[in-house]
């Protein structure tokens, strides 16, 4: 067995990005054309780094003429996302179309179901006046306590009010908001099936393994070319592939709630470069001490962080599972 490399801050950095890109592109092409027997790729583009890299990889794998980029904004989307997505598609010579999903979401009562729950927490909440978002309370990523969620409403002057979210309202807001990702998935499959193309899933390694995706939403796809890449590596690919600099420099957001919210604030609680290193140490069996020494942390805090990672992986396992069907005739 190969000797494990000593843990270092640069351990995740890809030494040869070109080789990695070529390997992914080759496999993507083989998987879609030979395994799935489909003719091209449909990619939902949000103006974020992950979908941008997936679009660029798809353009390399199938040729830009066999890739369809789809922007799917809704009422709460940041208009900047659409601008960036268009710039991206232009850069890689890919056709981009826009599918507004607000009316589909209104049909599901996504907004009213969500706002009804928000109103139970803040009676003064009026979606025409306030913006809202869910965030993680800092119970301490380095403690053994699981996170707890808070709800924030923001008035037009930018004043914020925040409360811990009770279970029922938390579940209802998340369930209602998940209509967004599931509606996008349906739209992607409409286009994919009508073109006989594959749906390219855009989640990265963290989203997959920590469960930061919606089952049968953004987790619903035929292939996930960056599903095994750390965010640091996704950024390396983006630079190499020539993804527009504004996209690379943009802070990753959820673009799900009406108020602006970063992914770090909503879910990860750590900047991605730190998260990458800790997660690498955790999943590759480095001891908390080995990681703590390099990261300038205490062994105890890193051990607690690793316990949190383990909990996250365990509690989100069901999201990654296929429907269980071995009930008879096994």
């Amino acid at each position: 067995m190969a000797q494990k490399k000593p843990f270092s801050k640069d351990i995740i950095k890809l030494d040869n990005v070109e080789t990695v890109v070529n390997e992914i592109v080759l496999k993507l092409k083989k998987d879609v054309l030979e395994k799935l027997r489909l003719n091209g790729a449909v990619v939902g583009i949000s103006g974020g780094i992950d979908s941008s890299v997936c679009l660029a990889l798809s353009a390399m794998a199938f040729g830009p003429e066999k890739v369809q980029g789809i922007m799917m904004p809704e009422r709460d989307s940041n208009p900047e996302s659409e601008k960036l997505a268009l710039k991206l598609a232009g850069k890689f010579g890919v056709r981009a179309i826009k599918e507004e999903i607000t009316s589909a979401l209104a049909g599901f009562e996504c907004y009213t179901r969500r706002d009804e729950a928000v109103k139970r927490v803040f009676t003064e909440y009026d979606p025409n006046i306030y913006k809202m978002k869910i965030g993680i309370k800092q119970t301490g990523l380095f403690s053994s306590m699981p996170p707890i969620f808070s709800l924030t409403i923001v008035d037009p002057e930018g004043n914020q009010k925040e409360k811990i979210l009770p279970a029922r309202e938390y579940l209802q807001i998340v369930a209602a908001s998940n209509f967004k990702q599931r509606t996008r998935m349906s739209m992607l499959y409409y286009h994919a099936e009508s073109l006989h193309y594959a749906v390219i899933g855009t989640p990265n390694k963290h989203e997959q393994e920590q469960g930061f995706f919606v089952k049968y939403g953004d987790g619903g796809a035929d292939v996930m070319p960056i599903g095994n890449l750390y965010k640091t590596q996704v950024y390396q690919l983006a630079e190499y592939l020539g993804v527009p600099q504004e996209i690379i420099e943009r802070t990753p957001t959820t673009d799900t709630y009406s108020a602006e919210q970063t992914q770090e604030e909503f879910f990860y609680q750590l900047p991605f470069d730190l998260m990458d290193r800790y997660w690498y140490g955790f999943e590759n069996g480095y001891s908390p001490k080995e990681v703590a020494d390099v990261m300038g942390e205490t062994e105890e805090r890193v051990a607690a962080l690793f316990r949190g990672f383990e909990r996250k992986r365990r509690t989100t396992e069901y999201l990654r599972m296929h429907p269980i069907r071995d009930y008879y005739g096994v």
Binding site: T139, S144, R311, T315
Partner: protein, 88 residues
């Protein structure tokens, strides 16, 4: 709901009953001093449900400052925390 004065053993019993029905493990394994997070009995959704249960059952309000491991790490810790909150 206003805070209700309630004796310590009743609080402990209610918390214990709740934890026992909320976890998906052998109830025998959970003692009053078991570390429910460290030992993996309660996950994130379980914690959210627990806080909601405490607020509804005992009429307390959990603030940011209360979200400390020492207040929630075991049945004993939770019971003491609820006891302190209901006295406020």
């Amino acid at each position: 709901m206003d805070n209700i004065k309630i004796d310590a053993s009743t609080i402990r019993e209610k918390v214990k009953t709740y934890i026992n029905q909320a976890v998906h493990v052998d109830k025998e394994k959970i003692r009053n001093d078991s570390l429910i997070f460290k030992e993996g009995f309660i996950d994130s959704m379980g914690f959210i449900l627990l806080v909601t249960f405490l607020e509804e059952e005992f009429g307390i309000k959990t603030s940011d400052a209360d979200l400390l491991e020492e207040n929630f790490e075991s049945i004993n810790a939770i019971s003491d925390f609820v006891g302190r909150k209901t006295e406020q």
